[in-house]
């Protein structure tokens, strides 16, 4: 399934937010991935030192093109390189696709799907929204996207075009004219903004540990079936 390391060539980069960018790679032999899967990325220094990190894949479907979106962690050793240094034509090594749990497949989808993102946790959920659009799925897919400010939204234009109902919660600064002041997701807000538990949706939650921990617990409190709530967390590493 995962095979060995493959060489990816950077074909493009795009600034997504002040601290993040998306990176498109051509990876001969990749062969496609499911929406929500991740990969391992390996960098090697001139003296042979290596570092490997896992990243969610923003793209989905067949083919050898892979898109990532990486948020810079200032104390990290890999993400600053990927966000600030990497250029088109550069090579990195990749292994994957990995993970068979946090995935959305059109053919086995529940009629309603709720995606819930905290910050850069939107990346695998974008892959699901893209797969939803590409497959012509009739599942009612919604995205609740918690983000610090309007400037921190990943893939803003594309999210509006994908046919998925997107609701933003701005935690630090809301845009002018917003219907809600800035503030974190609460249990009450969650209940108001997501599919109701009564429609028994498939739920995917991805974001920082504290966010996912709170949201998943509230969902269970609100009557969502725990086995329908899939989570992926990152610890800021």
């Amino acid at each position: 399934m995962s095979g060995g390391w493959k060489v990816g060539v950077v074909t493009g980069t795009r600034t997504e937010t002040p601290s993040a960018r998306s990176i498109t790679l051509d990876v001969p032999g990749w062969g496609g991935n499911l929406a929500g899967q991740h990969l391992d990325l390996r960098l090697t220094a001139e003296d042979g030192y290596q570092a490997v990190r896992s990243y969610s894949v923003a793209s989905a479907g067949p083919g050898d093109t892979v898109e990532l979106a990486v948020d810079r962690i200032d104390t990290g050793e890999v993400s600053p390189y990927l966000v600030d240094e990497l250029l088109p034509g550069d090579q990195v090594e990749l292994r994957g696709p990995l993970g068979g749990w946090f995935v959305w497949k059109p053919e086995t989808s529940a009629p309603a799907v709720q995606l819930i993102a905290g910050g850069s946790g939107v990346v695998p959920l974008l892959a699901m929204a893209r797969a939803h659009a590409a497959s012509g799925s009739i599942a009612d897919m919604r995205l609740l996207y918690s983000v610090r400010t309007p400037d921190d939204v990943f893939f803003r234009d594309e999210l509006q075009r994908l046919g998925v109902d997107v609701t933003f919660v701005h935690t630090r600064r809301a845009p002018d004219g917003a219907s809600r002041p800035a503030g974190r997701v609460t249990r009450e807000l969650l209940a108001e903004l997501v599919h109701p538990a009564s429609v028994d949706p498939d739920v995917f939650v991805c974001g920082p540990t504290g966010f996912v921990e709170s949201v998943a617990t509230w969902l269970v409190d609100l009557g969502f079936r725990p086995e329908r709530v899939k989570t992926e967390r990152f610890g800021g590493l």
């Binding site: 060489v7 001139e46 570092a51 090579q91 921990e213 725990p226 989570t231 590493l237």
Partner: protein, 197 residues
Amino acid sequence: MAIVSRGFGSRRRESSPDLPPGQFLTTDFPVLSAGPTPDIDTDDWEFTIRTETGQAHTWSWEEFLALPAEDVSTDIHCVTRWSKLGTSWRGVSLDTLFEDVESSHDFVMAHSYGGYTTNVPLEDLLDGKAWIAYEFDGEPLEPEHGGPARLLVPHLYFWKSAKWVRGLVMQADDEPGFWEQNGYHLYGDPWREQRYW
């Protein structure tokens, strides 16, 4: 031969001979779970070992705490590449729990509250290699880290150390558990980098 990434390597994390290949050190304790954290009241908690004859050895929370406990200092290694060295746990050795258990089966499926499962060979649970842990750093184990009690099998990748463990079922074959059916290695030795299929 690995390809070289131009200009990479100016910042590096601390290294250590105690670090298995492909791992990096962390001082945090990251949380990784496939779903919501279950809310388990110790009044309702039970731990059961079930054998092929259908015989069940069951402990209530009170009975479990009355068993001899051990303090364990160990390194832990997550398949997502973080390792944490010298962690402190308190728990009951599986040797103690298996004392009166008779089984001819060589494999175990661990089951958790919330539905998680993971498979482990019996020999990896005995001879001082595994515990049911209920304290971390001298405090009751937090729910997000598997409390009230989790399996602790620190010589394997940490997904084998099932959070919220509620029982072990003996099995004749090494049937795969949850992550093992979802792309991860059947055994999971960090020193041999047995991460994926």
